[in-house]
Structures are given as C-alpha cells and as structure tokens.
Symmetry: C2
Amino acid sequence: MVATRHIWRLARRPVGSVAEGDMVFGEEAVPDLAEGEFLLKVLYLSLDPTNRIWMSDAEQYMPPVELGAPMRGLVAGRVVKSRKDGVAEGDLYSGFGLWADLMVTDGGGLNRIELPPGVPLSVAFGVLALVGPTAYFGLLDLGRPKAGETLVVSAAAGGVGQVVGQIGKLKGCRVIGIAGGPEKCRFLTEELGFDAAIDYRNEDVGARLDALAPDGIDIDFEQVGGPVMNAVVSRMRLHGRVVLCGLISRYNDTEEREDSGYWRLVLMRRLSIHGFIVTDFAGRWAEALAALGGWMADGSIRTRQDVRPGLDRALEYLDALYTGGNFGKLLVEVGAGDTGGTAR
Amino acid sequence: MVATRHIWRLARRPVGSVAEGDMVFGEEAVPDLAEGEFLLKVLYLSLDPTNRIWMSDAEQYMPPVELGAPMRGLVAGRVVKSRKDGVAEGDLYSGFGLWADLMVTDGGGLNRIELPPGVPLSVAFGVLALVGPTAYFGLLDLGRPKAGETLVVSAAAGGVGQVVGQIGKLKGCRVIGIAGGPEKCRFLTEELGFDAAIDYRNEDVGARLDALAPDGIDIDFEQVGGPVMNAVVSRMRLHGRVVLCGLISRYNDTEEREDSGYWRLVLMRRLSIHGFIVTDFAGRWAEALAALGGWMADGSIRTRQDVRPGLDRALEYLDALYTGGNFGKLLVEVGAGDTGGTAR
C-alpha cells in the first residue's frame, strides 16, 4: 500500500488577491525515502505575508515558487520515518517546508526544535521560528532604540508587531501600535503594555499620531506601506530610523504604484531607512533565541497565536492576512489534534 | 568717515528658480565693532546648492534666512580689525558668514584656517571647508565602500562629486560618475581617474548603467534626485547603500512631487538609505581634514575649482549651479585679486 499525503500546489500566478484556482489542493502518493532523507509529519503550517510574494514572479529575496510545484511554507513537524543519520523518529523540526501534511526532506532549511519547558510547540514555532528573530534583529540592530524614544509599530497585533512592541518597552521606549479595530487595540494596551494604540480602521492615523507624539517619531517599524506608512514617515524626527520589514498593503497590487518616497524629508531629517529580511541575520539566530526565550520565560514577552484547523482551508486563512482578519501569529494546525506536546 | 560694505539681502522667497529681485545688492555702513567682535574682509564666497534651500521657508536643517536679512553663505576671509582676544589682524577664517565683502562677527560658526604649505586659500577653502568633509563622511561612514564594489556618483564633476569619486578609487571601488556634457565626463575619466563617466545630457543613463554595471550598483552617492536618481536606485544590488546627500534637481520645484520611492525595492534588496547633512559630523572634522590634507598633498586627490570674480554677480553665478553651468566647486572671488596668499 502506498502512503498518500495532502498537498497544495501553485497552479497559476495570482493577479491581485489570491483567488480560487490559483492553488490546488490534492491527494497524492508520498515520495519514497532515499538514503539521507526523512519523512516529516507536518503539525503546524505558518501563514505569512511573504507567502503572497513567493507566489508571484515579481522581484523578491528568494526564488519564486514554480508553477505546478508544491507551495513553500514554514512548517513545524515530527519525524515519522528516518533514513538519515542523527535524525530519529519523534524528533521535532521546523523551517522551510511545504503546504502539505507529509513531506520528504534531507533536512535542508530545517532546524531541530528543543521545546523550552512549558512552551507548547505552537508558541515555540509561532514565535521563535521566524517572528521573534524578525522583531529582535529588526528593532535592535536596525531600529537601534534608546530609552525615552518613541517607537511606532504597524500591524502591531500581528505576530511580529506584538514582539516588537514588547521589546521596545523592555528598552524603555514609548510604544504606539497601529492595528485594525478596537479589540486589537485594547489587546495591545491592556494585555501587552503598549503605551497607546491607533485603530487605523476607525481613526485618523495622522491626527492621532500628532496627538500622541507631538514631538515626532524616532523609530518606525514598518510592515504595512501605503497611507499608514506615509502618515508615520512624514512625522519622523531628526535622525529617525525606518525599519522596512514589510509592505503588506501592497503585496496584492496589480500595478506598480508610485510610493511617495519622501526623499526630501529623508534628507532634511537625516533619516535612515533599512530594507530588512531576517534571513540576513541567520548567523546570529542563537543570540535571538536565547534572548527571546528568556523574555518569554520570565513573562516580559507574551504573545497571542491565531491557530486554525485544517490544511485544506489554508488558502482561505491566508487571505485573512491581507485584510487584517487574523489576530496574532496565524498558524494552520495540520496535525489534527497532534500539537506536538509540551516538554516537561 | 563711516566705512561701507556691499551686501546681498533676501528681499522675498523665490518661487521656482531664483529671479531678479528676490535678493537685493546694496551698499551700507559697516556696523561698529563691539568688544569681542572682529571685522572680516571676505575673500571668497562659496556658492552651494543648499543656498536655495536657505532662501525658502520649506522644511530644512537650519533656520531659513529671514526676509530682509543678509544672505547666509560660507565664506573665507582675512581679519582686518579685531576687538576679540586671540584674533589678530591678518588671520584667515572660514565658515558661516554673509554674502558681503565685509562682515562683523564674534567668530561664531567660523574656524581659523591654517593654510597647508603650497595650498592656496581657494583650494583650502573650496575643498576643505565643507566639500571635502562631506565627501569623506558621506562616502566612508554611510556608503561604507569595500574594494571591488561599484560606486556611482551623481553631480560628479561638482565640488563634492570629484572628491567622492577619488576617495572611492582610493578604497578600491569601481567608480562611475554622472555629469552633464562631454567635457566634464572627459575630465572625470582622464584627469581624475574615474573608471567611467555618463553624460546625462546626451546619453540614456539607465542604458549606460546597464552596460557599465551589469551586475548592479553597490553605492549611490546621490546629489541630484529625479530621473537620474531613479535610474541609479533601480539598479542597486542587494545590501546596497544610498547616501542621500543632495537633491539639486528638486530644489527649485514649486510643488511637492511624488518621488518614486521604490519602497518595495528597498525592502527586497535590503538597501540602506541615509539622509546626510555633513554638519552632523562636526565633532570629527579634524579627522577628515587630516585625511584629505594628506591625500591632497600626495596627489591622490586633485580638484578643480570654478572661481568667478565679483560679489555683485553672485546671484547670477548661483543660478549656474542648478543648470549645471559650473565646472568644479563654485566660488566667488570677493577680494578683487586678494586671494589670501599661499603659505610658504
């Protein structure tokens, strides 16, 4: 009997928002294991804004997913069969994988997970795999926060934004989060300790920033682009830093837009703008994990995940990212109740 | 008998290019010297792109010149009368001054010049006062050139551009200059040792960059803005640096233009963009002067000045800056033949 798996493949390049038929979900035979490979049962699939970039063939930081190929995604899973030395059944791995419930791999792009005591896999994977290091290196290395400075975080209730704001507080910054809707804004100030939150759906972002930060903004941790970014960047202080981590409002664009580049303002205020992709910091991952793990263990950093069941609904869940429909790091629970356990 | 001086005052804020009547040239009594002040005979007035910024009341990095006030400029001159301890007749000073042939000052914003042996005042002032440190800090601190990288300099035949390109060569970069007209381009390659030059008036900048730098550009030392900047920035390599030192093509704009900000490209290629005003590096001036003086003394850096006679024609000369009519650092010889001497 041949084992089968469920898998998403890219059928055509999306135009604008991802539409039905751009990806196809199917069942197929699991490839045989060659020597040096192992079979990973995927327990969680991470849905990230960058997935939409990988589906396109526009300029990006990795090769796009090829048409017909399995969709690329960040996954966490358990080894169920191994023909690779040093990899044992039951081991947990996370990293680059597929939108599938079973995948054959030689381990490239994957790292073994050691669950910190008391931290479930969904949190370890949701926070530590990519989101946490992104917040850590982007804010600390490129944003260079100093105590007393004003930090604005867009997409603040998302996976990265939550951690950025809390690290900012640890560093003594005044932190203003921008998020969609009163529930997320309340979460930021009441649960996570942000100093203020702006609801971009129901408030005038510029006017609120003027009121909350009349002397201007020192750091913009930018994940959104478009009018929200313009409102923040145009209020930057002298020697401010823009950490350009994402532009989620633009990933579904069907034509190049003329972003307002504010070159004159960048010059006059001597801003620094840093394009940022966290994989550039791969050599310092252990540093980030140690710091983040400590902050999570002592309660300095709390996070909220948005875990949804069913690989077959991954595409529908992904769409929520671009409309702000998620609340916290968005994960698909692929393992049907198998959540990877918690180390005791 | 009351001594008189000639002086330019700002009569109204220019709209677009500076026009007749925006500044008025007149003769007036020299103010009396108070205790702690000295009288400086201006020998050279530096004309700089930033002069146009100071005339406007748009956002800028210093207070604008007030209407009716003497026009601000960088000057070099000789002390002709002193009521200030430590300042003697005959001393040479340079720094912030007025578009005038005589000025009374307490020395604020001025520094004493010691002429290096064999270096005339026009060169010491034209290169070392501001242009040289601008090239030095902008390229080395913000551009961070590494041997083998490709550096593009716009306004390359101007005061700053000449020095940037030559420092780039000293650091082992491949240097491409962008300038207006074949004469300037020949000067860059044949006299200053640039690897290549692009004549933006007669050549397609983008196509030439594609041919000269098919693998892209590591550093853009940007002084121009507009289509020339867009052609360079859109060809930057991964982890490239944009030193945003000037936007001379935009200073006469009468309305805000939507610059093409290329945010997506800044993100994907992890560019760093640094707004840069050299006065931020005031605390490290001596370092720049020592390095530049050494390079000038050993012939590693040569420069060309564009020295023109007559304070009364300063406004007409300034206009040349914005149309590329100057060739090298533009100075007005105010001292009518008194060039400050050369140290022997």
